[in-house]
């Protein structure tokens, strides 16, 4: 670790600008179908249709990423949302395999709070209107 300590000195504060490409940034590209780097391509309609509720038209979606440990994502779903272990693992696997999962549905303000909380945990989440 002593060697490592010397080698990583000041690595965090100097962005690798030359090596950065647009896909490094979590940006959304709209068009036909939603292509979301580094996530997989997903079909908007199928999943949203099953979760659609007229009285609570907003959702919080958590997106897959290659960094967050599966055990950590499950832990966050259990502790923050209070989901059972089985439900938390189901949602975590949905994120992992499908690229994303709707983790909450309800009023807009509440979904924004959930999104902020997910970002605080380091999970990448977005708010959307359920029929958007």
């Amino acid at each position: 670790m002593a060697v490592v300590a010397q080698l990583v000195e000041r690595w965090l504060v100097v962005p690798d600008v030359a090596g950065s490409s647009p896909v490094d940034r979590p940006t959304f590209h709209s068009g036909e179908g939603a292509v979301v780097s580094p996530m997989v391509e997903v079909d908007d309609r199928t999943e949203l249709a099953t979760e659609h509720r007229l009285d609570q038209p907003w959702t919080t979606t958590v997106w897959n990423d290659p960094v967050n440990l599966m055990s950590y994502v499950t832990h966050v779903f259990r502790t923050y949302f209070g989901y059972t272990r089985a439900e938390a693992e189901r949602l975590m696997l949905l994120v992992h395999h499908e690229g994303r999962a709707i983790v909450a549905t309800g009023p807009r303000e509440e979904m924004e709070r959930h999104t902020e909380a997910m970002h605080e945990y380091g999970l990448w989440a977005t708010v959307a209107k359920a029929d958007a």
Partner: protein, 174 residues
Amino acid sequence: MIDITRRGDDLVIAVDGVEATVLLDLVEQLGGMLRGRAAAVAGIELPMTPDDPALARLLPDGMRDDGEARALRALIEPGLVSAKLAALDAIAGTIAAPGVLDRDAERAWLTGLNDLRLTIATRLGIEHDGDAGRGETDADLALREVYHWLGMLQQQLLDRIEERDDATVAEGDR
């Protein structure tokens, strides 16, 4: 050396040596990045997504539409930056005075380690599941080693938390 053990309901963390030095250095660097971002957007009504991809991953857009994303960012980014800085401060506090982790410190370690991993992964160019990242220089290899080490540390913490919570549930059942 950094080691996390369980003593009854308490998680106890031992931190010393070079690993403590490395972790503290990382914590300070990330803290500097976040404080820099806060200073850069101070007074801006509708801040943009950060240019630095690591900061853009830590403080991501919360909506798909650019305009709505900026409005939401204005609402949540200040609190988000404060929470992340507080977690890093708590880790630094534990390094200065190791021992029993209370629940707040436990969460701070989990989220702080995660933010460091997200930052390093961005620097390494890790973009897909199973992606080892790019770069073969000594510095890249060292960074990759640090990335895996932080992952093991975070997993160790998660394992101890789960053991403790399972034991607590079993206790309650008796």
